[in-house]
C-alpha cells in the first residue's frame, strides 16, 4: 500500500496529475470512503485494504469534468466499468491516469457480523500485502477470528480475473479468489418451478426500500436523470407502495444495463437490505452469453453491445419456453 502512496506522491509532484482519487481511512477499521486527495499531505490518509470495495470508476464521470488529470486507482474488476464508461463517452480517458491495483478479494463487514461477531474494535489481516487467510477481530465481547474467504463479497468468489483491462501502470500483486461458478446461483433459480421462483423473488424484493443505492452506485447507471425519476412513466420512484413497483424497478434497472453491466457487483454490495441484486443482472448476462455469444461488457472500448446489434439468425423470443 505504501508503494501506492509513494507513486501517487510522485505523480502529484511531477505534475502528471493534479489530484488523486482513492480511498481514505475511515473512523472504524472497516469503513474507508472514496476520496479525492489534492496534496501529498492529504495522501497520509490514503488506505487500500480489503474493505476498499468501492468501484471508483463512476466517480470519474465527475472527475473527468475537473481541470487537469486525475490519478485513479482501479481494481481489476473496476477497469471493466471504466472501459464501458469510455465506450459511452461518460469519462474522458485523457483526464485519467490509471493505476491498476492488485486485489486479493474484497471484504464485506456484514458477512463478518453475520457470523455473530459484534462490537468490532479492530480487524487485522485485511491489508493488501498481508498474506494471511485469517482475519483477527478484536471486539468489545472478546477476540474473534474468521477466514478471509468467509468474509469476502459474493462477487469475489466468482471473480472475472485479476487482469486490468485498462491502465497506465499496474502496482501490486493479486490473488485468485474465484472458487465458485458465476452462474450457479442463476441455474439454481432457473431450475425452480414458477411458483418457487415467484416466491423467492417476492420475498427478496419485499425488502426493497427504494433507496436507489443500487442504481446510484452502478457505473452503468450513468443517466443524467433516471427514467424512474422522470414523469414519463410516473413510477413510484422512491416509494415502496406496491410489490409491482419493486419488480418493475428491478427488471427495468437490469434491462437498462443489460449488455452494459460488467457484473462489478456494486449493486449487491451496497444494498442496505442485502438483496442479491446481481441475480438480475447476471441472468441477462447468462442469457446474452447463451443466445448471442459470450460477451463481457467493458472488456474493450469498441465492441458493439449485444442489445445494439443482432444477427439474422437470432433466436425467437419463444426460445424462453423451448429452453425450459
Amino acid at each position: 500500500m505504501q508503494e501506492l502512496v509513494t507513486r501517487a506522491k510522485e505523480l502529484l509532484a511531477d505534475g502528471t496529475v493534479v489530484r488523486v482519487l482513492g480511498w481514505k481511512r475511515g473512523d472504524l477499521s472497516y469503513n474507508p470512503e472514496p476520496a479525492y486527495f489534492n496534496s501529498q499531505e492529504e495522501l497520509e490518509q490514503f488506505v487500500y485494504d480489503g474493505f476498499c470495495g468501492a468501484n471508483l470508476s463512476k466517480y470519474m464521470i465527475e472527475g473527468s469534468k475537473k481541470e487537469g488529470k486525475t490519478l485513479v486507482f482501479l481494481k481489476p474488476c473496476d477497469t471493466y466499468s471504466f472501459n464501458q464508461l469510455i465506450k459511452e463517452h461518460r469519462v474522458d480517458r485523457d483526464k485519467a491516469y490509471i493505476i491498476g491495483v492488485g486485489c486479493r478479494g474484497k471484504l464485506d463487514v456484514e458477512k463478518i457480523k453475520a457470523q455473530g461477531i459484534k462490537g468490532i474494535q479492530n480487524i487485522s489481516g485485511a491489508g493488501i500485502e498481508e498474506d494471511t487467510d485469517t482475519l483477527n477481530i478484536r471486539t468489545i465481547y472478546g477476540d474473534k477470528t474468521c477466514t478471509y474467504g468467509s468474509a469476502m463479497l459474493e462477487r469475489c468468489h466468482v471473480c472475472k480475473g485479476k487482469e486490468h483491462m485498462i491502465f497506465d501502470e499496474e502496482i501490486g500483486e493479486s490473488k485468485d479468489t474465484k472458487d465458485a461458478d458465476r452462474f450457479a446461483e442463476i441455474e439454481k433459480i432457473e431450475a425452480m418451478s414458477p411458483e418457487e421462483k415467484f416466491a423467492f423473488f417476492q420475498k427478496e424484493l419485499s425488502k426493497c426500500i427504494r433507496c436507489n443505492a443500487c442504481r446510484n452506485v452502478c457505473p452503468a447507471c450513468s443517466c443524467r436523470k433516471c427514467v424512474f425519476d422522470s414523469n414519463q412513466f410516473d413510477s413510484a420512484q422512491k416509494a415502496n407502495v406496491d410489490s409491482f413497483e419493486e419488480k418493475m424497478f428491478h427488471i427495468i434497472r437490469a434491462f437498462h444495463v443489460a449488455g452494459r453491466c460488467t457484473d462489478c457487483g456494486e449493486c449487491s454490495r451496497v444494498c442496505p437490505q442485502g438483496i442479491p441484486l446481481h441475480l438480475f443482472n447476471r441472468k441477462f448476462i447468462k442469457d446474452i452469453n447463451e443466445l448471442y455469444g459470450e460477451y463481457q461488457a467493458g472488456a474493450d472500448t469498441e465492441s458493439k453491445g449485444p442489445l445494439t446489434s443482432f444477427t439474422f439468425e437470432d433466436a425467437e423470443p419463444g426460445i424462453v419456453v423451448e429452453r425450459r
Binding site: 459484534k118 433507496c211 443505492a213
Partner: protein, 354 residues
C-alpha cells in the same frame, strides 16, 4: 415488574395478536425488520438494530391519504380512514423511542398530522434494553440511556428471562391483557443461591454492564460542541469542509430511509385507472428532485443536499426545537451508507471549526 420465560414469548405474542396488531423484529430473507407478527414469523429479538428503524409503524414509508373516484364527469373524494385499532410495537430500542419524540415535534405540533397522531394514539410501545451495544452506536451522545428504555412498557432480557415493566397507562392496560402469561417478580427473593442476589439486583447489574460497554464504544465520546446553537449556524453553513466531505455521497436515500428521525415526505398521485390515489411517501433530501419546484431546485448541487441533511439534524432542528437534535445516535446510517459516509464523520470533521 413482571417476567416471562423466553420460551413462552410466542404464547405472549399470540395473545397480544389476538386483540391487537403486533409488530416486532422479524427476519425475512436474511434481514431483520419490524413486521407484523404471525405464527410463521421468524422473530429475532436478539437483533440489535433492524435495518429500517421502526418509525414505519407510526409514519409508514408510503400511505394513501385519499382516493378520488370518477364516475362519468363527477368526481368523489374518499379520505383514507385513520388508524382505529390498537397495535403494539414490540422490541423498539431506546434510540428508536427517542426518534419518535423527534417525529412528535414535527407531526404533533400545529398543524397536527392526523394520520400520525392517530397512530401515536393507538400505538403501544414495548421497548427493550440493548444488551450488546455495538461499535456504530452513539446514543449516549444524545442523552439516550439504552439500558433503561422508557416507553409504555420497558423490557429486559436477562439469562433467558424477559423482565417486563409498565411505564404508562397504556402499558398498564397491555400488561393487564396479558397478565395471565406473566409472573410477578418478587423483589425480596434472592433466587440465585450462588449469586445470592435478588432478580431486581440482577437487572441493575445488567444495566450497569450495558452502561459499561457503552463507555467503551468508539463513538461514545463524540463531542457536539458548537452544534445546535444558532450563533454557529452561518459558520457551519459556510464551512469549506462540506466541499471535501460530500464527494463520496452517491445521492441514494439509504441514510434517510433507515433513519428513525428523518421525517420528510413527498405527496404523489397514482392513477389506478378508476381514479387517483393520493399518497405520501418518504422523501430524501439526498435526491436531486427533493423539493423540486417549477423553476428548478434551490439546492442545485449534491454538496448542498448533503449539507442540508446534516445541518437539519444538527443545527436547524435543535435551533427550532429547544436544543433537541434530530439524531438519536442509532448508528444505522453508519452501518448502511454505501460510501461509508455518516453523521459521525461529519460531526468529527466539523468539530474543529470553532
Amino acid at each position: 415488574m413482571y417476567k416471562i420465560a423466553k420460551e413462552n414469548l410466542s404464547a405472549l405474542f399470540q395473545t397480544i395478536a389476538e386483540t391487537k396488531e403486533l409488530y416486532l423484529p422479524v427476519k425475512i430473507s436474511g434481514q431483520v425488520n419490524f413486521a407484523a407478527w404471525d405464527e410463521e414469523a421468524e422473530v429475532s429479538l436478539e437483533t440489535l438494530k433492524t435495518v429500517k428503524s421502526p418509525k414505519d409503524a407510526f409514519f409508514p414509508q408510503s400511505e394513501t391519504l385519499y382516493t378520488c373516484k370518477k364516475e362519468g364527469k363527477k368526481i368523489t373524494i374518499d379520505p383514507e380512514a385513520l388508524k382505529e385499532k390498537e397495535f403494539v410495537v414490540f422490541g423498539m430500542k431506546a434510540c428508536d423511542v427517542k426518534g419518535l419524540e423527534v417525529l412528535d415535534k414535527v407531526f404533533l405540533s400545529d398543524p397536527v398530522d392526523t394520520y400520525y397522531a392517530a397512530r401515536r394514539e393507538h400505538g403501544i410501545i414495548v421497548a427493550m434494553a440493548c444488551h450488546e451495544p455495538e461499535e456504530s452506536c452513539f446514543c449516549k451522545v444524545f442523552g439516550v440511556d439504552c439500558a433503561e428504555p422508557a416507553a409504555d412498557v420497558s423490557v429486559w432480557m436477562v439469562e433467558g428471562t424477559l423482565y417486563w415493566k409498565a411505564g404508562t397507562e397504556k402499558g398498564e392496560a397491555l400488561t393487564k391483557s396479558v397478565e395471565s402469561l406473566l409472573s410477578p417478580v418478587e423483589e425480596e427473593k434472592k433466587d440465585g443461591l450462588a449469586a445470592g442476589i435478588s432478580e431486581l439486583e440482577k437487572l441493575e447489574l445488567e444495566k450497569q454492564k450495558i452502561r459499561g460497554i457503552v463507555e467503551q464504544l468508539p463513538y461514545t465520546q463524540l463531542s457536539l460542541e458548537g452544534w445546535g446553537k444558532e450563533e454557529n449556524l452561518d459558520e457551519k453553513f459556510n464551512s469549506p469542509k462540506w466541499e471535501e466531505l460530500y464527494h463520496p455521497c452517491l445521492a441514494c436515500g439509504t441514510c434517510t430511509f433507515v433513519c428513525p428521525t428523518c421525517q420528510c415526505y413527498d405527496i404523489k398521485d397514482y392513477d389506478t385507472g378508476h381514479g387517483i390515489k393520493r399518497y405520501r411517501c418518504w422523501d430524501s433530501c439526498m435526491y436531486s428532485d427533493f423539493t423540486m419546484m417549477a423553476h428548478g431546485n434551490n439546492r442545485t448541487s449534491q454538496m448542498q443536499r448533503f449539507r442540508q441533511r446534516f445541518m437539519h439534524k444538527l443545527m436547524y432542528f435543535p435551533v427550532n426545537n429547544d436544543g433537541m437534535f434530530s439524531c438519536v445516535g442509532c448508528g444505522r446510517c453508519v452501518e448502511k451508507c454505501p460510501a461509508s459516509l455518516n453523521i459521525v464523520k461529519v460531526i468529527k470533521a466539523m468539530g474543529g471549526d470553532q
